[in-house]
């Protein structure tokens, strides 16, 4: 699992540099997210634009990553590809997370 992290406009942007978040990498993803977001801005944007596929294990790992942030910080999602968007929609997790069509949209939402 490869995550890279930058900051923009007071938010931390974590980019997933993998084309899948599936059962084979869900635990590693959760651990890496914990490391990346241990400290930092209250708002974390997870850039999913390179992720072509997610399964329920990957979905669970993203939920876990949000829980790790606690109540005072938030995890937003940016750039979901069609299959990723579908899994969030079918499980109604799109009502729990805010999904932005692109990283740009997510970052500019920070300014308002």
């Amino acid at each position: 699992m490869s995550l890279t992290s930058t900051q923009a406009d007071g938010a931390q942007i974590v980019t997933v540099n993998a084309d899948r978040i599936d059962a084979a990498m869900a635990i590693q993803f959760k651990e890496d997210m914990r490391t990346e977001t241990e400290s930092g801005p209250d708002r974390v944007i997870l850039d999913l634009s390179l992720v072509q596929f997610i399964d329920s294990s990957g979905l669970g790992a993203i939920v876990a990553a949000m829980k790790q942030l606690g109540r005072d910080r938030r995890l937003d999602l940016a750039g979901p590809t069609p299959m990723v968007e579908k899994v969030f929609r079918l499980t109604r997790m799109d009502t729990i997370f805010t999904l932005y069509a692109s990283l740009n949209d997510a970052v500019s939402a920070n300014e308002t």
């Binding site: 059962a23 596929f53 329920s56 579908k86 009502t95």
Partner: protein, 146 residues
């Protein structure tokens, strides 16, 4: 005109991924539309994950076989394992996970059967000679008349 292909692998998450990708590669040759291929990949992955995590929870030597049968209007994917039968010998209801609670209680799992049921048009499960046979059915979109 039925096309069939199959693959078989040891029940680890890594080899599950390789086999699922091989199946998807096989399906690419039959011109499955992208969104339907996505449905197939999600449902197949959830079904295989269930086998790896539950039926073969206590072993990494379990074997899973996947067979695909395509007819003009239906794709059937059969997943075969030799683990213990499903609880009560039947398919789980696949209720949607409860996401109504506060942050701390949000579910991190339990989505699998719900997704499988949402993405397939039919499911069939039977226990036969010590094996679990789970069949996922997907409707194939009719080809446009040219």
């Amino acid at each position: 005109m039925a096309e069939t292909f199959a693959c078989s692998f040891e029940a680890t998450e890594q080899s599950a991924r390789s086999c699922i990708l091989a199946v998807m590669e096989g399906l690419r040759d039959i011109d499955l539309p992208a969104d339907r291929a996505g449905d197939v990949q999600i449902a197949l992955t959830e079904a295989v994950n269930n086998v790896v995590e539950h039926a073969y929870a206590d072993t990494s030597n379990g074997e899973i076989r996947i067979q695909c049968d395509l007819s003009s209007d239906l794709l059937k994917i059969r997943i075969i394992d030799t683990g213990p039968p499903l609880p009560k010998g039947e398919l789980p209801a696949g209720q949607p996970a409860d996401i109504s609670g506060p942050l701390e209680t949000l579910p991190e799992g339990g989505f699998g059967w719900y997704l499988i049921r949402q993405l397939t048009c039919k499911l069939h499960y039977e226990r036969q000679a010590g094996s679990n046979l789970l069949s996922l059915f997907f409707e194939m979109p009719s080809k446009p008349v040219s």
